[in-house]
């Protein structure tokens, strides 16, 4: 699976959260992921439609990554949609080029999560406010993914940021980023590749092996339990 991350931010170099996300990707993730910052690619705002459509065609998962300004994206991403998602390409007669791809959102949001509900300061949920993106996915035949919403990045603790770093990589690269089993496989693959030179313990290789084995043993036990339960329901 190949993922295209279309980033829209008016001043990406000054954005702590955007820089964090860009740096978060490991070499392993980058084999699968293309980062595409719109404002840097098109500083004059003139979009190369053909090139953009080719990019879309050569990727399976499309991510719009942006700060959630006034319940929408920065203007260049809207302009990009107007220019690139044309009839006969994205919809209409023979406009099936995006069909069966996935569309996901990575949103950085200035307020806390609890404000996005009835009675909260914003009054509406993120699901309600992102309806136009859901409608784009629907019209173009794409599967809409649950968004990755990052609330108040500036106030996140270091531990929370580390969690975000992993969640972000999984959001971009995993077929089912929420499910336990694919996340286990992802962690195991990443552990196998992690460099032990950056670890100061001499027996770090052994520990990493033990950790992988423990995760695999747990998975076997989980599958066995599930099998027993399913047998009883048959």
């Amino acid at each position: 699976m190949k993922t295209l991350v279309i980033i829209s931010h008016p001043s990406i170099d000054e954005s702590g959260s955007q820089q964090f996300l860009i740096q978060a990707l490991s070499d392993r993730s980058l084999e699968q992921v293309t980062l595409h910052p719109l404002e840097k690619t098109y500083p004059d705002g003139v979009i190369d439609v053909k090139h953009e459509q080719e990019l879309l065609k050569s990727h399976d998962r499309i991510i719009f990554q942006f700060p959630f300004y006034w319940y929408s994206s920065p203007p260049l991403l809207k302009h990009w949609q107007d220019e690139v998602l044309t009839e006969h390409f994205a919809f209409g007669y023979r406009g099936d080029k995006l069909k069966d791809k996935e569309l996901g959102l990575v949103l950085s949001i200035g307020l806390s999560e609890k404000e996005y509900q009835t009675g909260g300061q914003e009054g509406y949920s993120i699901s309600e406010l992102t309806k136009p993106f859901q409608a784009v996915a629907r019209k173009t035949g794409m599967t809409y993914l649950k968004p990755l919403s990052i609330f108040q990045y500036a106030y996140m603790s270091e531990e929370e940021r580390m969690g975000l770093l992993i969640r972000y990589q999984q959001y971009l690269t995993l077929k089912k980023p929420d499910s336990l089993k694919p996340r286990e496989e992802w962690i195991i693959a990443a552990l196998k590749e992690t460099a032990t030179e950056t670890l100061r313990t001499d027996h770090s290789d052994f520990i990493i092996e033990q950790v992988i084995e423990h995760i695999e043993d747990n998975r076997m036990e989980l599958d066995e339990l599930r099998m027993h339960i399913d047998n009883y329901h048959e």
Binding site: S26, M162, G163, I166, A195, H214, N218, Y232
Partner: protein, 60 residues
């Protein structure tokens, strides 16, 4: 100390010893994952126990 506690403690020591931010994040995620697996096992074990003790299945 059971095996899980030992593994988590070792992971925490690796975390402290690592000089690489992304690696630290990975080691923390591995510990979190193992805790999550444990919770899932307990839930499934509970579901299995409940199924075994359900009067509806006693006739089988």
């Amino acid at each position: 100390m059971d095996e899980q506690d030992w593994i988590i403690r070792e992971l925490e020591q690796l975390f402290d010893s690592s000089r690489d931010y992304k690696q630290k994040a990975l080691l923390k995620a591995a510990a979190d994952l193992i805790r999550e697996q444990k919770t899932r096992k307990e839930q499934l074990q509970g579901e299995l126990d409940g199924t075994l003790w359900s009067p509806g299945n006693w006739r089988n």
